[in-house]
Amino acid sequence: MPFMPSPEDKQRYRRRVAPVLAIVVGCHYLTAYAFEHYHLSRPVAILVALLSPLSQLLLFTLIWQFLSQDRDEVQIAYRRDAIARATAGTLAVSVLWTGLKEYDLVPDLPLGMAFPIFTVFLLIAGLAIRRRYR
């Protein structure tokens, strides 16, 4: 008896996530490029700024949907733990960076760096959690 998610589910997940991931990365860099190279009016700036978080929201919705379909609760717990730690790490970096920026000790953090930082933290957290529970 196969346990959820089946290979088909995983394939479906990858098929859904891969294009959304490309959209997320594209939106990040499009937003960063627009802010760097154009002087946007306030309403347009708000719309452009929304592109990136909305695409991330879509990605997280897909990941959440996949986790809710998975019957292997231990694996779900690992993934949720990793996502929580990665979010905490990203928040910590952004708060620290903002604090240092106040005193001009660091340069501006490019907008497009948020997602790569989260991804790095997610990879590190995933490896650490797997090591601990192995």
């Binding site: 008896m1 196969p2 346990f3 959820m4 019957r71 292997d72 609760e73 231990v74 694996q75 717990a77 601990r132 529970y133 192995r134």
Partner: protein, 64 residues
């Protein structure tokens, strides 16, 4: 929380992979539960109990 999962599994001659297949979870999950690194939810604990035809408290030992 301690448990008798490894003993019960060994009595039946099942590998972790066999038990994982019966419980519809991954082998890593069986290992995490056996070694006490993860305490299963009530639905999974009931599935385990049904599989071994035992009561939950006969498999999972409350150390409190």
């Amino acid at each position: 929380m301690k448990n008798r999962l490894r003993v019960l599994r060994a009595e039946r001659g099942w590998s972790q992979a066999d038990l994982a297949e019966r419980l519809e979870v991954s082998r890593q999950s069986v290992n995490a539960i056996e070694t006490g690194k993860y305490d299963p939810s009530l639905p999974l604990a009931f599935r385990i109990a049904r599989l071994f035809d035992a009561r939950i408290e006969e498999i999972f030992i409350d150390e409190a």
